[in-house]
Symmetry: C2
Subunit: 65 residues, 2 copies
DNA sequence: AATTTATGTAAAGGAAGCTAGACATGGAGC
DNA sequence: GCTCCATGTCTAGCTTCCTTTACATAAATT
């Protein structure tokens, strides 16, 4: 499951730390999600969607294939 | 995090077992999600959305408050 | 009455998500 | 040079998600 977090964060000029604080998670979690180590939980995915004001489907992308 | 799984499943007249097989998870997982024991992972939420052909946001609802 | 189906629940174990703490690197600015 | 930042990574530990196995109940069927 890929995501557009890094790009969307860059568009807003937020650091991983900035985003982590808005989401209420650790900087390491944001980093791990961005670098593809794991996917966020569903509740966290909703918070991410809220922060970026976008539907989940526009942030997280089904794996091709 | 609430969800409309039970109703949507009833609308289609699927058993928990039917849905579990379509999703590739155990019947207990479907039951646990429906009865609110826990939320699905993000990848599973996407599969659920695919099976019901609805956006995630129309199936899973942010907790009010 | 006996069987089948659907649902709910529980326990134990493995896999995935998340934490705090620490360390390394590269870039920007003194 | 040194010092911040921002990012990436690692570890140990805890919580959440998901599994198999199993048991209980109610409803429908035979």
């Amino acid at each position: 499951m890929k995501n557009r977090l890094k790009v969307m964060r860059a568009e807003r000029d937020w650091s991983q730390q900035d985003l982590a604080e808005q989401l209420g998670v650790s900087r390491q979690s944001v980093n791990a999600i961005e670098t593809g180590k794991y996917d966020p939980s569903l509740p966290l995915a909703f918070r991410i969607a809220d922060v970026f004001e976008l539907p989940i489907e526009e942030i997280f992308l089904r794996d091709e294939a």
